[in-house]
């Protein structure tokens, strides 16, 4: 075709075919104006348009096309896919359905067998009619009106043609062992947070009765982890807001702390509270005790956690260093995440001592262990085992202060220890702190020490057996 060398013609051709093959009609809306431009170019038909100008135009067109591609063709495709899926779904559904079409046939057929007149004189039975419904209602006569029944209309399950949202609701008022599984609730998207709470309570009441439940305003929905842990850092969802505003699908239903059963002012709900005040009381007492126990546990956990967190922070303790050959010296043990420092406390007349106690400092990496040795009523002894070889850049002169540990010889690395005495709480604190730090650091020294110790144990055992 001679026209194929005309880019405007080509452009217009492509546009036209694009528009005519597009089912959504979107292209037409957008491109119709542009194609006019192209047509104008085609008509004004400069045989050799200025290269620069035309290129610019082309670029613009291209850009436009790219934009078109990005924005619409993808969506169009997904629309088509969705449409296809819908059709497929409908086909599947209808294939399961039996279709009976009305056919207007000649009604000249014998109806003897189908339209048989029934002898209604026999109908006049005088027997007493019984109703299972009536019997059933009699046995379930005093079922109190469920106060949450009005929220039933927010149930989205089984609804068609209206948007619904699904939630996993964790009920914190359930006993611990039942809390792990969330309640699956499907709710119409137009419901408010308050309505969802009511619906959850309604569903809960189907299974657990209404005795322990309070009015929906006494509960809040909190953002919750997938594992059911309520995230209390955020406030509960505003009860007056539509639920569709929030994107969270896991929520925890939590009773407001300040809520009291007294707040039942609604006449219809009064009967509820009247029914079993005793029962409610006992349960609330029990739950209170449980709650306080829970609190204690929590506090303990927090304390432990704090200790762990603070372990690498510097802290100083007082203790007495004991060695076999030298007199007892009062020292300050400074422990941090980096080093363990042992400073002799200056004492009166220390100058008179035949040798000077020097300050010692060990990097934590060279510390192998810290353990309590003996707990007497007055003093508690503990020792810090360190390694002289591995990073054994202990300042000061350990040789003077310590006695070599009995099991020192292990190739190049030698383990030595200091022996201290102090009161029990201090000793405990020191031991815990050092061990926490060691756990955090998990240095090679430590693992080596533990290994060597285990070996020793084995040897000892063997020795015992031999003996």
């Amino acid at each position: 075709m001679s026209l194929y060398d005309n880019k405007y013609w080509l452009l217009s051709h492509i546009r036209n075919s694009f528009i005519s093959t597009d089912d959504t009609g979107m292209c037409e809306l957008i491109m119709v104006g542009e194609s006019k431009d192209a047509k104008q170019h085609l008509r004004s038909a400069e045989p050799y348009p200025e290269p620069e100008g035309s290129e610019d135009e082309e670029d613009e067109f291209e850009l436009f096309d790219m934009h078109q591609d990005m924005d619409f063709s993808i969506r169009e495709r997904s629309n088509t896919a969705a449409q296809l899926e819908k059709l497929e779904h409908a086909r599947k559904k209808t294939s399961k359905m039996k279709h009976v079409k009305w056919e207007t046939k000649d009604p000249v057929q014998e109806f003897e067998d189908i339209f048989v007149k029934k002898d209604i004189t026999q109908l006049k039975d005088t027997q007493k009619r019984t109703s299972t419904l009536a019997a059933l209602l009699q046995t379930h006569s005093n079922v109190p009106r469920n106060p949450f029944i009005e929220y039933a209309k927010f149930d989205g399950s089984g609804q068609v043609n209206i948007p619904t949202k699904k939630y996993k609701i964790y009920l914190t008022m359930l006993p611990q062992e039942q809390r792990n599984y969330p309640m699956q609730v499907c709710c119409v998207a137009s419901a408010k947070v308050q309505d969802l709470i009511g619906l959850v309570l309604l569903k809960h009441s189907y299974n657990h009765g209404i005795t322990n439940l309070k009015s929906p305003s006494q509960y809040g929905l909190y953002i919750t982890e997938e594992d059911g842990e309520v995230d209390r850092d955020f406030p509960c969802l505003d009860a007056g807001e539509p639920i569709s505003k929030f994107g969270f699908t896991s929520l925890g239903l939590v009773e407001h702390k300040e809520a009291k059963a007294v707040n039942f002012q609604d006449a219809s709900r009064n009967s509820l509270v009247m029914e079993g005040p005793g029962r409610t009381r006992t349960i609330s007492d029990k739950s209170k005790a449980e709650e306080s126990r829970q609190m204690e546990n929590d506090l303990q956990a927090v304390e432990d956690h704090n200790k762990q967190m603070e372990a690498p922070l510097y802290r100083a303790f007082r203790a007495v260093m004991v060695s076999k050959v030298k007199p007892k010296i009062e020292v300050t043990i400074g422990i941090s995440g980096e080093r363990v420092e042992i400073d002799p406390v200056p004492q009166k007349g220390s100058k008179l001592l035949p040798f000077k106690a020097k300050a010692i400092s060990h990097p934590v990496d060279s510390i192998a262990s810290c353990e309590m040795i003996d707990t007497r009523s007055s003093r508690t002894g503990f020792r810090i085992v360190y390694c002289t070889a591995a990073g054994g850049n202990a300042s000061g002169d350990p040789g003077i202060l310590n006695s070599p540990s009995t099991s020192s010889a292990h190739k190049t690395t030698a383990f030595k220890h200091y022996y201290f005495e102090s009161d029990y709480p201090t000793a405990l604190d020191i031991v815990q702190k050092i061990n926490l730090i060691l756990e955090l650091k998990s240095s090679a020294t430590r693992s080596e020490y533990i290994a060597s110790r285990e070996k020793k144990m084995v040897i000892k055992k063997v020795f015992n057996i031999v003996k």
Partner: protein
């Protein structure tokens, strides 16, 4: 417990309306036991098949059949071919055929015995049909239309007879008492008309003798239904009430009123006529104690007006 459950299974309460769902209810607790999707249109009328296997829903251009035993939320049979709303549906007592009436001015007989609807029968009137009711003798259909005409259609002979109880009034519902002694009809002016029926032997048609006329409601009367023992008649109305009448003298026995319940569309008696269900525009179905006139249960869950209900008691 087991027996109670199985008994309870036999009691069927189905409701439907404008929210495109049909709900089945546990009658004594008020819990919705099942929701079926009726996506394409509102539910104009509901009827349970005689064998309690199927639920027929009259809707726009279709009658859908739902399986009452499975948990299938969609319809299993689709009766199509009517051009407008199907307003009324019912079954022959052995389930041999089904009748329907619609706004396309036609009453139809659908053959249920065979696969391909062997014996379609059609009855055409001048105006959209609001209601169709089957005489207990199983061969006469009473059809009420928007022109205010009641037709007695003899299915065997195709002869028909017309009644015009009141000019310029639509017939909104017709019911025939189970003992086939009385026929009741209500219209859009709230009037209720009663006829005595005289059944003829074999081929002679049923005779209708005007018996009584009374103002049941101030506004549209929407449904009328006799109790299974034929001693009571309930009428429901746009005046937000349902009224129960004694069929011996048509004196008012009970008025079922609840504030803001809006139009009361449909009603059904329990087998012993001690209780009655109503369906109303406030989205609730309700169970009333006939003697006390108080509501005993509420069936909540519909998003919009409930306009049809079907109930089958067990005995």
């Amino acid at each position: 417990m087991m027996t109670e459950n199985s008994e309870n299974d036999q009691i069927i309460l189905a409701t439907g309306g404008y929210d495109h769902t049909i709900k089945l209810w546990q009658t004594h607790t008020g819990i919705c036991s099942r929701t079926m999707q009726h996506a394409e249109s509102q539910v104009n009328g509901l009827e349970i098949s005689p064998d309690k296997d199927l639920l027929a829903a009259a809707s726009y251009q279709h009658i859908y059949m739902y399986d009452l035993h499975s948990n299938n939320p969609s319809a299993i049979v689709n009766y199509e071919g009517t051009s407008k709303n199907v307003t009324s549906v019912g079954f022959q007592e052995d389930g041999k055929w089904m009748y329907s009436g619609g706004e396309d001015c036609r009453a139809r007989i659908w053959d249920l015995r065979s696969r391909n609807n062997q014996c379609p029968k059609i009855f055409e009137v001048q105006a959209p049909i609001n209601c169709v009711s089957l005489h207990p003798n199983q061969v006469e259909l009473f059809v009420g239309d928007q022109n205010g005409i009641i037709y007695r259609w003899d299915l065997r002979t195709d002869n028909n007879e017309q009644l015009i109880p009141e000019n310029d009034a639509m017939i909104l519902d017709i019911d025939i008492s189970p003992d086939s002694q009385l026929m009741a009809s209500v219209n859009n002016k709230g009037k209720c008309y009663i006829w005595s029926l005289v059944s003829g032997s074999n081929d002679t048609p049923t005779k209708m003798i005007p018996k009584q006329k009374f103002e049941a409601h101030k506004r549209h009367a929407l449904k009328c239904k006799f109790s299974p023992d034929s001693n009571l008649l309930i009428t429901t109305s746009a005046d937000q009430s349902a009224k129960i009448w004694d069929t011996s003298d048509f004196s008012l026995v009970q008025e079922l009123i609840q504030e803001n319940q809006r139009w009361v569309w449909d009603a059904a008696f329990s087998a012993d006529a001690q209780y009655v269900f109503t369906a109303s525009s406030d989205g609730y179905a309700k169970l009333w104690n006939v003697k006390k006139g108080v509501m005993e249960r509420e069936y909540a869950g519909h998003q919009k007006a409930v306009i049809a209900l079907a109930f089958r008691d067990a005995s």
